[in-house]
């Protein structure tokens, strides 16, 4: 497959690993690198890269799995919306097994008779609403800057087609405010960031300017083994030379200016507001909510959703895992109580969660 196979070449990967070892030796101190994105966590797990890196380099997983950072209260709201009489509730598949307060999830609600559908695109929901005229279709939109513009574009389409029975429950979030929170947290010490490739297709590189300004290295990286290794190498070179910057490794896809058209569509439909992140708490201007012009599509306005305080399982350590403070294996529930078949926290639910990746790939 063009634009993928080239980046899976083991020979190239082996040579990169050698260069990484040589560059790490120049730095002469332990280095902590955070892979922000859940897709990176999964790619790194699958390829075994974590174990191939020199011991002085620690790769930790960040808060870049949208499912993992969805607050229990938002899951509770989703369960309430999906449980209403006659409702059609649709969302992306990853969301189905995320536990709300008390461990209830959408999959169990569906088994109990609720009409919960899995869609691959927000466009499917537009079609679903057209097919189910006379029923209220609620779409739970989840995801970062990669996904939010697609949902915004689908809503524009729904408005164009004058669809009146579709609404959006948005738990969309944006990435930079969470990274800002992490670098401001004195308990967290990270030298460099592998920035998310697909989020950055939309965002571009300027959005991460605050990282080098705070002395952090940053490389926007793709998802194949050669991409990740080159990303690590570029980070180490920045650190060795003491010149933090935002570099783009994933040049075939990411342009410095991002995708301005997609960002404009996102901005036309959504406005930023404060949002609650599981494990990180409330973060100002980190959530995406429908603008007044799209109020008619806002499930939060259309339905009288009760207040939910939301309580995460107190035994779950996702909060500290998401900040890279502990390794998933250090959670007392890991593997013993919490497994992908019986996930206690969202970091074990999504295949991109750090606990699930550690469970599967060690």
């Amino acid at each position: 497959m063009k634009h993928l196979e080239e980046y899976r070449d083991p020979e190239l990967a082996g040579r990169l690993l050698k260069r990484i070892a040589a560059t790490a030796a120049l730095i002469d101190r332990p280095v902590t690198i955070m892979e922000v994105c859940g897709s990176h966590t999964q790619a790194i797990g699958r390829s075994g890269i974590r174990k191939l890196l020199p011991p002085a380099i620690r790769l930790i997983s960040g808060p870049g799995c949208p499912v993992c950072v969805t607050a229990a209260a938002d899951v509770d709201r989703a369960l309430w919306l999906a449980g209403r009489q006659g409702a059609v509730f649709a969302t992306f598949g990853d969301m189905l097994r995320v536990p709300g307060t008390g461990g209830e999830n959408l999959q169990r609600l569906r088994a109990a008779g609720a009409d919960v559908r899995v869609v691959a695109s927000a466009l499917d929901c537009v079609a679903l609403a057209e097919a189910e005229q006379g029923r209220e279709v609620v779409f739970m939109g989840i995801g970062f800057e990669t996904t939010a513009p697609t949902v915004a574009a689908a809503l524009r389409r729904a408005r164009e087609r004058k669809i009146a029975n579709l609404s959006l429950f948005s738990v969309h979030k944006v990435v930079p405010p969470a990274l800002r929170l992490l670098i401001d947290d004195p308990g967290v010490s990270i030298d460099g960031f592998l920035c998310p490739g697909h989020v950055s297709i939309m965002l571009g590189s300027a959005a991460y300017g605050f990282l080098p300004a705070a002395g952090k290295a940053a490389v926007i990286t793709g998802f194949e083994p050669v991409d990740v290794l080159e990303g690590v190498l570029l980070l180490l070179e920045q650190l060795a030379e003491g010149r933090p910057a935002v570099e783009i490794q994933y040049r075939r896809a990411v342009r410095p200016e991002g995708n301005p058209r997609a960002m404009a569509v996102m901005g036309e439909v959504f406005a930023a507001g404060d949002a609650q992140w599981r494990g990180l708490g409330p973060i100002p201007a980190s959530g995406l909510f429908l603008r007044r012009e799209y109020e008619a599509f806002d499930a939060a306005k259309r339905f009288a959703i009760p207040e939910f305080a939301g309580q995460e399982n107190p035994g779950c350590s996702c909060g500290v895992v998401l900040r890279g403070l502990i390794d998933p294996a250090e959670c007392p529930l890991f593997r013993r109580v919490c497994t992908p078949a019986n996930p206690i926290g969202p970091c074990m639910v999504s295949s991109e969660g750090s606990c699930a990746a550690r469970y599967r790939y060690g």
Binding site: M1, K2, H3, L4, E6, L12, R15, L16, K18, R19, A22, C37, G38, S39, G64, C65, P66, V67, F92, D94, A120, S121, A122, L123, D124, I142, G143, F144, T146, T147, P149, T150, V151, A153, A154, R156, R157, P196, H198, V199, I201, M202, V226, E230, Q249, R251, R252, A253, V254, R255, N259, P260, R261, A262, V265, S350, E352
Partner: protein, 76 residues
């Protein structure tokens, strides 16, 4: 969740949708989010039913060549 794949545009319908070959599987994707016009033969990266960027062929070749060169030059 932010998973996205490169694929080749096979055909375009009414300028808003394209059929893309992603690793041998044909999928229909919406082109509404692309800033640049595309035509069959172009590679696009698709996510959640939308093409989100055109693959920059020149940058792809250039960056692979550059990587090879760097590794060759300073190999121990």
């Amino acid at each position: 969740m932010c998973i996205a794949f490169p694929g080749e545009i096979l055909s375009i319908e009414d300028g808003r949708f394209a059929v893309v070959d992603i690793g041998g599987v044909q999928r229909e994707v919406c082109l509404d989010l692309l800033a640049d016009p595309v035509s069959p033969g172009d590679y696009v990266i698709s996510h959640a039913g939308y093409a989100i960027q055109v693959v920059d062929e020149a940058a792809a070749q250039e960056s692979l060549a550059l990587l090879q060169e760097i590794l060759e030059h300073e190999a121990p």
